[in-house]
Symmetry: C2
Subunit: 512 residues, 2 copies
């Protein structure tokens, strides 16, 4: 058995049965093994940032890792931005990168790069296999590392001779690594703060934002009067009816400071202390009050649900029914507004939908208007590197097994990984993309105003996307996806109903 | 003056007057400075690999660096593959990357990455400015480094506070760094080999492949009977009438070994010893005879034209008229073939055109058929990371000041940086793109055969680009570029004539 066969069989045995790929010459033996060993679903992306973004979206919905297959250093380089996002979203991923054969590398052939250095910038675990006999063992270790809390990008670099040489051995799955144990002092300190009655925020991150974590957090809040918010930097929030109608820390620094400034204590549950995305002249980096006290209930390597449970028990917090978010909104009407868009999507989305949110400047009213929508999973851009909305939607649909995916997609960001549409068409995935077409990098126009200057022609040229306007319907059609324009929320609603009734992808170019 | 203003003024003073950009929030003060200081042409790309590829193409034609403007680690990450190609092409580039403010970095805000580590993988020079007062000086040093032989990607990382703080100072241009001196022994050794009369190849790389280097190499070859070839790994070759009708080392290992195997000596002129792109089981890495002797006439840090001149003088080689390549070919007819495509392009291209060659599997007959074309510059994919053909064409057109650019573009590679078309439309650049549409990663289908297996459904799914077929005309139209299909070489010729008569971009979807 060659190394490549041992790799595929080891991955399958460890439960990794989906491979997002853009292979090259140095991965041909892996491709052959995928062909010859049954059981791996292979999904092609036409550029590597689509591939890595799909693997991220898959993991966020499946709760287990897919593998990637990337070609040498440059293939990894192309996929780095969405690996960065996956890292920030704490997604599980077995990131497989083919590379020059061990003995060929010293010749510095053209595609040779410092692949390992690139991998280290985005990975929680990196290994370079050095012989066919190690590949199975290394693959099992990669799966184990990917699945360890809080979820990691585990990058396995495979020189091509480790794949084609004989001597491969299938490895048994390694046991799951346990979460780091809770510290009873952390729980007691949090309880003491909550009993003290000062303004306290419980800030949820990571897997605390799934439904079970929300329920226990709500028990605690109901018993103590504490507030609950979702970290801004998060890849996945369970939302809609039956879930907690909680706010997310705002993106805009002023709004974040307003939302957080009143709290004397912040209890961090698998969340980091909130800081601004960027620094601004004369403004602080932190978004909470300077004299607020931060208390860590669970580090990201600890189980946040176990920590919340221990805290609720310590407080003797009784069960609490989740708050009623009120009636589901009606679809909006007239020209698009952020709130009208959110209400229209909330009104029409089917039960158990997945929303891939790369709304950037337009999505700031989204949360409030979708509390009463049917239960859904919301996937956010956690790392800030634009271009993950479309591939994450695509990978989520692969994992979703027929669940409707709604991609709320800013136009500038869409152009980063527009090739995703082709994979949606090829795999016949139920993804409905709404392009929020404002013909600009609108967020930057706002940021430019912060510089204190009026943009002149050179600046405008770097911030607007008109001249020429992008023809989204043509672009989508060219990649095999049906598409239409919507100029009003009524037109949007009609197209959404039509798309939700069909199992294939569809794109709506919404003028905003 | 703030740091950003000192940056723009220093770049302009050093002759860098073109900036390919995709800025973000942390670069807004640089954008404001570009707006407020006159003289910099700013060209927006809709994804960073387009931006870096354009800067590469610009430098190859202009012979001097442009600057880029990239957004934080993720923006640099997105542009790395074409920085890798630029490095292999030895292009000059001042690669400017904005980043988190110095005091904000420790907070590990979402977009924070190890920017410097990423930069080191592709750059010949990296510096992180640490205060506004250093920015001008650092920018002058970056330009100097970019221009040093053989040409470098010089990456300057600018934390945002170094741009907005006052205290910036414009720096004077630094003197050009001289080439490393020639070693007379290198010249004498090469002369001795050539006088010995054994089968000898003069292998030209880097700037030796411009017209002056070719002329002197031909003098030497005419006087000694040596052969001349162009390195495969090269970004730029002067070709057509008046230039040397020389072959390029073939890509395919068997063909390369056949072309190189007879030589007892290889004289390397700013070229590296030829090795295969990839290793293959049981095959050698080197493409020349195991017992051939390699002789370095010029390392890449030395001036290859000076070295060739010294060698010609040492040999007393008299002037030699360049060989006549014969009549210019006629356009081809019937279904497309590699040779027919090459003849059609050769027959119709205007004088002084630029060809951006990302033909991959289809271009192997290109050289032979275009020896007698009008004089032109041929730009090749030097680093092997697919996706440079379209942005290099775009940047070359920006530098070309109206020169016609012909982009021979494989379909799979085109999808990597398809956003280039939008910039071509916005800037109204005279780029004619010919998509070589074989609906597959054809080179990989050939490589898969080398594994010794017949591709089954899983492998085919990862190697073909059909299902759905890409609609190139729709995609181009959606990005503002007119386009049409050609099913025969006659149709291609008609569309080429039409495009060459118009100053705006055009795309031809050629069925092959």
């Amino acid at each position: 058995m060659n190394g490549a066969h041992s790799l595929v069989r080891t991955l399958l045995r460890a439960g990794v049965d989906t491979c997002f790929a853009n292979p090259g010459t140095s991965e041909m033996h892996f491709v052959a093994a995928l062909d010859q060993v049954e059981g791996m679903r292979c999904v092609l992306g036409l550029q590597e940032n689509v591939v890595t973004g799909m693997a991220d979206g898959y993991a966020r919905i499946a709760g287990r890792p897919a593998s990637t297959l990337l070609h040498c250093g440059p293939g990894l380089a192309n996929g780095l931005a969405n690996l960065h996002n996956a890292r920030r979203a704490r997604a599980q991923m077995v990131n497989i990168v083919g590379d020059q054969a061990t003995y060929h590398r010293p010749h510095d052939a053209p595609l040779t790069m410092d692949t390992a250095s690139l991998a280290h910038t985005v990975s929680g675990w990196v290994r370079v296999s050095t012989s066919a006999g190690e590949v199975g063992r290394d693959a099992a270790a990669a799966v184990q590392a990917a699945r360890a809390l809080p979820g990691h990008v585990a990058t396995l670099i495979l020189p091509s001779d480790t794949c084609w040489d004989e001597g491969g051995a299938v490895a048994e799955p390694l046991p799951a690594l346990e979460a780091e144990p809770l510290d009873p002092n952390q729980v007691e300190r949090a309880a003491r703060v909550l009993r003290g009655g000062e303004e306290t925020l419980i800030l949820l991150g990571g897997t605390a934002l799934k439904a079970p974590g929300q329920e226990i957090a709500w028990r605690i809040a109901s018993a103590t009067g504490a507030s609950i918010m979702a970290d801004f930097v998060t890849g996945h929030v369970a939302r809609g009816r039956g879930r907690l109608p909680m706010a997310r820390v705002p993106y805009a620094p002023d709004a974040a400071r307003e939302a957080l400034g009143r709290f004397r204590h912040i209890i961090l549950v698998s969340a980091k202390p909130p800081v601004t995305f960027f620094a601004y002249p004369g403004q602080p980096s932190i978004e909470y009050a300077e004299d607020a006290q931060l208390h860590i209930l669970a580090r990201k390597e600890q189980d946040p649900v176990a920590a919340l449970t221990a805290l609720a028990d310590e407080l003797g917090a009784p069960p609490a029914a989740m708050p009623d978010p009120g009636p589901c909104p009606e679809p909006g009407s007239g020209p698009a507004t952020p709130e009208g868009l959110a209400r229209t999507v909330a009104a029409l989305m089917p039960e158990n939908a997945i929303v891939s949110d790369e709304t950037i400047s337009y999505g700031r009213g989204l949360y409030q208007e979708t509390f009463a929508a049917p239960a859904h999973d919301m996937l956010h851009l956690a790392g800030g590197a634009i271009g993950d909305g479309m591939p994450v939607a695509t990978g989520a649909a692969v994992a979703g097994g027929g669940r409707r995916v709604i991609n709320l997609q800013a136009d500038g960001s869409a152009m980063y990984t527009i090739q995703s549409l082709w994979t949606q068409a090829r795999e016949r995935l139920p993804v409905t993309t709404i392009i929020l077409n404002n013909r600009s990098y609108n967020i930057l126009i706002g940021e430019y105003a912060g510089v204190g200057a009026t943009p002149g022609p050179t600046a405008i040229k770097m911030l607007d996307l008109g001249n020429p306007d992008l023809g989204w319907v043509q672009i989508a059609n060219g990649m095999g996806v049906e598409a239409a324009k919507a100029n009003t929320l009524e037109e949007l609603a009609d197209l959404l109903r039509q798309s939700f009734a069909s199992p294939v992808p569809f794109l709506i170019d919404l003028s905003i």
